[in-house]
Amino acid sequence: MDSQNNTLSKQTTSFGLSLVVCSLVNALLVIAKEISPAVQSAMQKLTGHHWVTHSAIVVILFIVLGFFFANVAISVNRLIKTIVTCVLISGLIIVGFYLIAG
């Protein structure tokens, strides 16, 4: 008899998707603020330090999207693939950007 229960909790899926989006937003925000002095300056003004603003935006977005995606359904395989791929791509964007522009 198959006693496996292979469904994930709603929060696991929704915060997983939020992790995916926020990882990419984090990487894209790096490029935006490094390329545009106006963005960097605005982020600086908001909290006194661009990195604090950057962190706050990503963390708040993670929480908000975690609840926003509450009713989204996705297979576990796809969720795992999306998380791993997007985390690696986001990391490569950040590393690659500073290797090229740094």
Binding site: N5, L8, L19, I80, I94, V95
Partner: protein
């Protein structure tokens, strides 16, 4: 004081990595006996990471500008231009990953094979990214050291 804050940042970062490795190994052998422990250790990993992040963030904003000036005048300016710039942004991604770990681990890992695979992937990414970030920190510290050495020779 600055050094104590910095060492506490590293200490909690390492504690987070160790906790994530612990979760990975425990999930490989998930059973009724260790299910609660997996959930507690994954929560501990998240708490360690948040402490490391807040302490490190405070040090970065308050104390790092002086180190940055020293690094940029020294022979290893890339310690700031590449390593610190990369580290300060990769760490945000690590924070999200570790925050997600206890959420993923809250599923029934004994009965749910897919949840086990998810936790294994997330807990594997944490030490990989964490060790990379620790290495970046070492290069940044070395950047300060070689700059100060170059000044005295």
């Amino acid at each position: 004081m600055s050094e104590i804050i910095l060492m506490a940042h590293v200490l909690f970062g390492v504690a987070c990595i160790i906790a994530a490795v612990w979760v990975f190994v425990d999930v490989l052998n998930a059973s009724e006996r260790n299910q609660k422990r997996i959930q507690w250790i994954s929560r501990a990993a998240a708490i360690f990471m948040w402490i490391a992040f807040i302490i490190g963030g405070y040090w970065y904003v308050v104390f790092y500008p002086a180190d940055k000036a020293i690094i940029l005048k020294g022979p290893w300016p890339f310690a700031h231009e590449y390593f610190m710039e990369t580290k300060e942004h990769l760490v945000i991604m690590l924070l999200l990953l570790v925050t997600y770990l206890p959420i993923a681990a809250s599923n029934n890992l004994v009965a749910n094979k897919d949840a086990r695979r998810l936790v294994l992937w997330v807990s594997a990414l944490v030490p990989l990214l964490g060790l990379m970030i620790e290495g970046h920190g070492a290069v940044i510290a070395m950047g300060v050291k070689v700059a100060l050495l170059a000044k005295h020779i």
